[in-house]
């Protein structure tokens, strides 16, 4: 009996040493992965970028708004708001959805869609459920009332902007 205990103890020590190295590998891997995830979270500015884009569009469209200009065939949102078309359309990193609505009825008058269309579903899901999914593009929205400078009529403006630039 005494011999058995001693034998088991030796075996236990041997296995413990293997476990020790296995534990180190697991702990090491966890620390490395954790540090990298933490650093990526620190440099994740997608939500801030989406908010900046959304605010910029809101400011630009609400200033000296004219329905005639907005509805014209040649209306260029990039030129109007001083935006560069290339990064917004060429890299599948951004999404813009600008909807001009009738005040009261909420009926859409004109909608401008730019960028990666698949972000629309991600934005709808996150904004409707009021939650953030880290694997989705990050979205920001602005809802405001704008006044036509010429006619004085009021309109509703809904802007959704998304960024997935990591």
């Amino acid at each position: 009996m005494t011999n058995n205990i001693i034998k088991n103890k030796k075996a236990d020590e041997r296995y413990l040493s293997i476990w020790m190295f296995l534990n180190w590998i697991v702990v090491g891997a966890c620390i490395v992965v954790g540090a990298l995830i933490f650093l990526n979270v620190l440099t994740d500015v997608r939500l801030a970028e989406a908010q900046v884009l959304s605010d910029r569009l809101s400011n630009c469209l609400s200033e000296n708004f004219s329905l005639e200009e907005f509805n014209s065939a040649g209306f260029d949102i990039y030129a109007k708001c001083g935006l560069n078309k290339a990064p917004l359309e060429n890299y599948d990193l951004y999404y813009l959805n600008i909807t001009l609505q009738e005040q009261g009825s909420g009926k859409a008058i004109k909608q401008i869609l730019k960028g990666k269309g698949t972000f629309e579903v991600m934005c709808e899901y996150q904004l409707n459920n009021r939650k953030t999914e880290q694997n989705f593009a990050q979205c920001a929205n602005n809802k405001l009332t704008i006044i036509d400078e010429k006619t004085g009529d009021e309109y509703g403006l809904v802007i959704i902007a998304a960024s997935n630039q990591i």
Partner: protein, 131 residues
């Protein structure tokens, strides 16, 4: 008696090695974390995002001078005398580099004219002008 002492010696040696290996392991882990957190790459990554967000938030007809002394110090440490912030105005890509590597790039969506981002190596500043 001799066997017992030998066992005790083995136990002591085993425990000492175990402690040394543990200390070594956790020191390596701490070193890794501090290196990752303060590496040139993470500084470039952080700064390029900061500058790009500032550019995108700027109103038209504005001039802004940004202090980038942290990047300058790193560039000096790496003996890098080139341009720290390079912008591709057509594609809207800003690249920040503090050594001879590729640097870190980030896209900005503001339409800027050529020469709107100027790096002053003497003052360690970046002047940004929007049209």
């Amino acid at each position: 008696m001799i066997t017992q002492n030998r066992k005790a010696q083995n136990l002591l040696a085993g425990t000492t090695i175990f402690i040394i290996l543990n200390v070594l392991f956790f020191s390596l882990m701490l070193l890794f974390i501090s290196q990752v957190g303060s590496s040139d790459n993470s500084l470039e990554k952080k700064e390029v995002r900061r500058i790009a967000l500032v550019i995108d938030q700027m109103k038209s007809d504005t001039e802004l001078v940004m202090d980038i002394s942290e990047l300058c110090k790193t560039a000096q440490k790496n003996n890098f005398g080139g341009n720290i912030a390079i912008a591709d105005y057509n594609s809207g890509i800003l690249t920040v580099k503090t050594s001879n590597n590729d640097g870190n790039s980030f896209k900005f969506f503001t339409k800027l004219e050529r020469g709107s981002i100027l790096y002053d190596s003497n003052k360690c500043t970046l002047t940004i002008k929007t049209g």
